[in-house]
Amino acid sequence: MTVKTLTINGQLVSASEEETLLDAAQAAGIHIPTLCHLEGVGDVGACRLCLVEIAGSVKLQPACVTKVNEGMEVYTNSDRLQKYRRTIVEMLFAEGNHICSVCVANGNCELQDLAIEMGMDHVRLDYHFPNRKVDVSHNRFGIDHNRCVLCTRCVRVCDEIEGAHTWDMAGRGTNSHVITDLSQPWGTSQTCTSCGKCVNACPTGAIFYQGSSVGEMKHHREKLDFLVTAREKQQWNF
């Protein structure tokens, strides 16, 4: 294992060559906002919130999929990055219908947290008010597509940890949406094991336990973490 040294926001950091900038930053206690990243499953670099500046490169790079390199000079919180991140979060609020006061995840939502972090007090963009569906055909869970940010965390967790691959994406552009099996009601899915991993993976109130009311949707991310560590490192202690 080769160790690389680099600086993040001027702070000297060392990391193994396999690590990403996000890993290295987190280990050094430097916070980089993320949304599509989920500990334990593969990264897709889709939400673009973790973009960082690297000296010597004009292009911004996503920290979640960029490997550390010797001598790298990384900046994670320039004014420019902060502005882009705020706009990304605004875009998500404009795209779906996020009325937090009536949402199961109110207070327990990563999107809401990001909005607070970015200091987003209003949305300058036009709301789309899309006509999206709610599927409560599953006897324990439900999905409200209006609150989905298309992070594909449910898709990856179901595929990579549970091994069921119930979830997938369909449509493109603004019509993109997650589907269960061959785009059929979740309740009729032949592959879903009702393990609830997607419920815990979802950063927002999109996937929820039926019967939970406003503010009740707690996500237990640590359960996913536990499973991954257990499998990979054969450590079974919670």
């Binding site: 939400c47 973009l51 911004l60 036009d126 552009g173 603004t174």
Partner: protein, 538 residues
């Protein structure tokens, strides 16, 4: 197959050529005007007149002036004539006039700038040979470059030669082809792949389609040379389903080449094996982006993923992969045949060779042109294109499709090369060129391209998925005369943000048409805003 056998095929093909040739364009443009029917009538007429011994009717590729199609060229020992807008009823008259007589069908002047400024390298056989006949390609020196490469050059020498030629990728970005080949050649792996990107999705562009329909073997030969140079044994041509004629001709070409041992195992009795398969895309613009294209070939959803890793390192199924555009591959055989120095002597200092453009829009002559790099936009638009019909004036020319921009008439003296177009805020792109006249509203143009990007965004990353929708909304608001200064400021902010934060080239370049029209035609945006201010004042 040995070289003497190849040459024998060429000789036989040439000796069989009949003294009079009637060539019918059977590329997509003319086919849509019933060129197939014309060809049938001509064949039937020649048969009825008993002229089969001396006259040959053949289907050939694009003859360039597509707007006047169907085109029929008659070559007799006395000279050539190019007939335009030929209908099935005209066949008889053409046959009657074979001895030099006059007809009522209008002829195209072959000495006009539209033709005389062209320098065919990529299109050297287009309009001349039958794309469905491998013998015709061989008679036009086809597959000699491949022989030369396999039997007389090392892979390193081939890469060196392509680097030396100065060829740059014709798929848009203009990355040096030699450098790309060298990177894949150096990658260590027991499996490598070569991909031909024939996805061509830019609105108004049909260069790659024309090459595939007019001279498919040249692409296969280029791919085989590339495969030898980088050490690959399997190639894929990723072509969109909207191109059925191109697909059919490619299939025919692959079968023919395999039958003659020019593809397959131990090509030209050398230890080199190379197989090519066709993969048909379902028509998503983003599948032209290389990482999305490879995902699609692997049978997955055509979504781009972040680079690095680049395909040269980790491409198809994780193996090093060379991916080039159709036109890039079409340049390879001539470079090997005529030498890298010959190629490097054409074009400008940093942009070598020629470029094929699909010339379209408000212009007299629309069609396919191949000009040396460095030809000015004015020469292309005013002389070759013959200017705007009905006394209008050209206002701008759009190059580079949805990734490009609009260049104003005041900059028409710019030479066409990669750097000049980028400096003007546009880009070479794959070669679409759309001329706009004074009646065109540039905000509307920007809106059109934004609509395209919005519809074609894959939806994976947020800036592109939502940003294109928001920008489209703002442009629509402007067009409806309902936008304010704040909307314009927001539009500019979104352009910057989407450009810098999107995952792939689609999102990164989607703001370009807006940025370039803002740069040269800002006044048109401002006028639309002022109209609104006037309105709400009353």
């Amino acid at each position: 197959m040995e070289l003497n056998e190849l040459l024998a095929i060429a000789k036989q093909e040439r000796s069989q050529a009949k003294p009079v040739q009637i060539r019918c364009c059977t590329a997509a443009g003319c086919l849509s005007g019933n060129a197939e029917g014309v060809k049938h009538e001509l064949e039937a007429g020649i048969k009825a007149e008993g002229l089969e011994k001396d006259v040959e009717v053949s289907g050939v590729g694009c003859m360039r002036l597509c707007c006047q199609g169907p085109l029929v060229q008659v070559d007799t020992p006395a000279g050539s004539k190019l007939y335009e807008k030929v209908t099935t009823q005209d066949a008889f008259a053409i046959i009657e006039a074979l001895d030099g007589g006059k007809t009522h069908i209008s002829e195209i002047d072959l000495s006009q700038p539209f033709f005389s400024y062209q320098k065919p390298i990529v299109l050297e056989n287009s309009g001349k040979i039958d794309p469905e006949k491998i013998q015709a390609y061989i008679a036009a020196k086809g597959y000699q470059a491949l022989y030369h490469v396999l039997r007389e050059m090392t892979p390193g020498e081939v890469v060196e030669s392509i680097s030396h030629s100065g060829l740059r990728g014709r798929g848009g970005a203009g990355y040096p082809t030699g450098v790309k080949w060298a990177t894949v050649a150096k990658a260590k792996s027991d499996r490598k792949f070569v991909i031909c990107n024939a996805d061509e999705g830019d609105p108004g562009a049909f260069m790659d389609r024309s090459v595939l329909e007019s001279d498919p073997h040249r692409v296969l030969e280029g791919m085989a040379i590339a495969a030898y140079a980088v050490g690959a044994n399997q190639g894929y041509i990723y072509v969109r389903a909207e191109y059925p004629v191109a697909i059919r001709r490619l299939q025919t070409a692959i079968h023919q080449a395999q039958r003659l041992g020019l593809l397959g195992s131990q090509i030209f009795e050398s230890p080199f094996d190379f197989k090519i398969d066709i993969r048909i895309g379902a028509g998503a613009y983003v599948c032209g982006e290389e990482t999305a294209l490879m995902a699609s070939i692997e049978g997955k959803r055509g979504l781009p993923h972040p680079r690095p890793p680049y395909p040269a390192e980790s491409g198809l199924w994780g193996h090093p992969t060379l991916i080039n555009n159709v036109e890039t591959f079409a340049n390879i055989a001539p470079i090997i045949r005529n030498g890298a120095d010959w190629f490097a002597s054409i074009g400008t200092e940093k942009s070598k060779g020629t470029k094929v453009f699909a010339l379209a829009g408000k212009i007299r002559n629309t069609g396919l042109i191949e000009v040396p790099m460095g030809t000015s936009l004015r020469q292309i638009v005013e002389e070759m294109g013959g200017g705007v019909p009905d006394g209008g004036t050209a206002k701008a020319v759009q190059t580079g499709g949805p990734s490009g921009g609009c260049i104003p008439a005041s900059a028409f003296d710019t030479p066409v090369d990669y750097e000049s177009l980028t400096n003007l805020g546009s880009m070479m792109g794959s070669g679409g060129m759309i001329v706009m006249d004074d009646s065109t509203n540039m905000v509307d143009v920007a809106r059109f391209f934004m609509e395209f990007c919005m519809d074609e965004s894959c939806g994976k990353c947020i800036p592109c998925r939502v940003g294109t929708v928001q920008m489209h909304g703002l442009l629509t608001k402007l067009m409806q005369g309902k936008a304010t200064q704040a909307d314009l400021a927001l539009l500019e902010e979104l352009c910057d943000m989407v450009k810098n934060t999107s995952l792939c080239g689609l999102g990164q370049s989607a703001p370009n048409p807006v940025l370039s029209t803002l740069r040269y035609f800002r006044q048109e945006y401002v006028e639309l805003i002022q109209e609104y201010l006037e309105l709400i004042k009353d």
